[in-house]
């Protein structure tokens, strides 16, 4: 919970991690990838305020105490959603698995939601694992990486018939939310991993599932925006958007936020800190204080008020995950401007 100027914000961090990328977890022979990967993540942290930067040693493997302090005690978060990333070709125990997240989270009942993952290339065995994970961890969401290498394959798309099998199975198992990584390259690729057209297909064919595009397709937000504006069940996951831009590039941040508000709208944007890349505290506090800078270059964009910020920081994700939000956090009932009201103003 965060309170500012008499307004209370219920906060759902819908995209965060608990990883081990320390050398003790590197796969022999793949050390350069394991090292390169976490150093790349660490560089992203440098885009946040200087007093929030960690040493590379802490960044490789932060503790349970670090996480609880940074996310809950000081970070204003009420409920956090673990989004796993396996990368088992580089990290012996995996980088950030459902098991690792749950083992830690189970000591803190009621504070975490455990998403799991699947990969259509794992076939029947993958379906069985998915079912077991949903039963064991109560997962209502999955995190997908379409650009991930696997045994010589360099990625997959949500259009693949195999992927449809998994989407159908997800739905049968009660999964509602499909978080898809479409953003900075997660893994070296030859396919165009930024391509969001596969989400377009799946969102149309699975209208009862929600597709949350994490990192909003950066570096190609234009493709994401054109797609999302046509699909009612596609959401903009703000992980990386706030962390990488709000502090380091305030003018570009304002424009990216403006575009998302214009094309997608405040009802379909969700906050995610991407912890441990960035701590949630400065992101939430900064976002609540944020407004468009003065200047004509921002005049095309819809404004964002307190109600919109409440939705983005928690209420939208609470709806996706059926989280009961105490009455004190409910919006005053002001309906936001609908997407159709957005017009291209041209001063």
């Amino acid at each position: 919970m965060y309170e500012k100027n008499g307004e209370k914000y219920f906060v759902v961090d819908s995209h965060m991690h608990y990883w081990n990328a320390a050398p003790d977890n590197w796969v022999p022979g793949a050390e350069q990838y394991a090292k390169g990967w976490i150093e790349c993540f660490h560089a992203y942290q440098s885009l946040g305020p200087a007093d929030t930067h960690w040493s590379i040693e802490k960044f490789q493997k932060y503790s349970e105490d670090d996480l609880m302090k940074d996310v809950f005690d000081e970070g204003h978060v009420d409920i956090a959603v673990f989004q796993p990333t396996y990368l088992t070709e580089w990290y012996k125990e995996g980088f950030n698995t459902t098991e690792r997240n749950a083992e830690m989270g189970e000591r803190h009942p009621g504070q975490f939601i455990y998403n799991t993952r699947w990969d259509p290339r794992e076939g029947d065995a993958g379906l069985a694992t998915l079912k077991a994970n949903v039963e064991r961890y109560g997962s209502r969401g999955v995190k997908l990486y379409t650009a991930e290498w696997r045994e010589g394959s360099r990625g997959w798309t949500l259009k693949d018939p195999e992927a449809y099998r998994f989407l159908e199975a997800s739905q049968e198992l009660g999964i509602k939310n499909i978080h898809v990584h479409k953003g900075p390259t997660i893994w070296p690729l030859d396919k165009d991993a930024f391509d969001v057209s596969d989400i377009d297909h799946a969102a149309t064919d699975f209208p009862d599932l929600n597709f949350i595009v994490e990192h909003v397709g950066l570096p190609r937000i234009e493709d994401f925006c054109f797609m999302a504006t046509q699909e009612p069940n596609v959401y903009a996951g703000l992980s990386v958007v706030i962390g990488a831009l709000m502090h380091a590039r305030p003018r570009f941040f304002a424009k990216v936020m403006g575009e998302l508000l214009f094309w997608v709208g405040e009802d379909k944007m969700t906050f995610g800190s991407d912890y441990g890349i960035w701590e949630p505290k400065w992101q939430i506090e900064g976002f609540v204080d944020w407004d468009f800078p003065a200047g004509d270059e921002y005049s095309d964009y819809p404004r964002l008020g307190v109600e919109g910020k409440k939705k983005i920081l928690g209420l939208n994700a609470a709806k996706l995950y059926d989280i009961k939000v105490p009455g004190e956090f409910q919006p005053a009932g002001a309906e936001p401007a609908a997407q159709d009201d957005a017009k291209l103003v041209t001063q």
Partner: protein, 234 residues
């Protein structure tokens, strides 16, 4: 002009295909040395170890091409450092092999389509750069649909837009329409102008935001300024 500055000037013509900016001003050239005998040594660097290898390959191959084409250069040694695919990329470029050959069994084809994709975005972003000042000065958006390139006030942004259009094979003669669909070359007419300007605007925002992130990452990774690097405004 020294040999080194001529090589750097040549490298100004090499763009990051995604950011549509020269690799020199982005800070991607870490080293540029030319011996008296005309042996050029160029080293490139990127913001992360995991930048997409297809973009990286394009930049290294283009850099090799422009440097080795200079009459005063006897030999060109151009290489990328600190990247997970440095070895394959450098070997492929040195052997003048294409991307698909360098990544045998991995790459799904050559990169021309990728270049086209980004040029299309560059044309859209350039359209915003040219049109925004006109609209800010009070021009009605509908008026843009009847303007030709000759009607458009001259500017560096317009020159750049025309260069990108030419690369895509789009018309750049004085009578050509200012607003065209970058995919088909068809003029933008009637009510389609709003959507077109919206696409142009968000394309420019995407490129600018991405450039900002790349610059920030590069600065974290390499404390030294690149050869020909320019300070950006964030």
């Amino acid at each position: 002009m020294t040999e080194r500055s001529r090589v750097l000037a040549a490298l100004d013509a090499v763009r990051d295909p995604e950011l549509d900016e020269p690799i020199t001003t982005l800070g991607f050239v870490s080293e540029c040395i030319v011996s008296a005998a005309g042996d050029a040594r160029v080293r490139l660097r990127l913001p992360t170890y995991f930048c997409a290898p297809n973009f990286a390959f394009l930049m290294v191959a283009d850099a090799y091409d422009v440097v080795s084409a200079l009459p005063e250069v006897r030999s060109a040694d151009v290489a990328l450092e600190g990247h997970f695919a440095s070895a394959e990329i450098n070997a492929g470029v040195a052997a003048r092999a294409g991307f698909a050959v360098s990544f045998a069994g991995e790459a799904v084809g050559e990169l021309d389509e990728l270049r086209r994709t980004f040029l299309t975005k560059a044309v859209l972003a350039g359209t915003d750069q040219v049109c925004r000042p006109l609209l800010a000065a009070g021009l009605d958006p509908a008026a843009l649909t009847t303007m030709t390139l000759a009607d458009t006030p001259p500017s560096a942004q317009l020159d750049r837009l025309c260069r990108r259009r030419a690369e895509l094979g789009l018309r750049t003669d004085p009578a050509a329409p200012l607003l065209v669909d970058p995919g088909t070359g068809a003029p933008i007419t009637g009510t389609a102008v709003s959507m077109h300007l919206g696409r142009a605007r968000v394309s420019r925002v995407g490129i600018e935001a991405n450039t900002g992130i790349c610059r920030g990452m590069l600065r974290h990774r390499y404390p030294t300024t690149g050869a020909g690097e320019e300070e950006d405004e964030g």
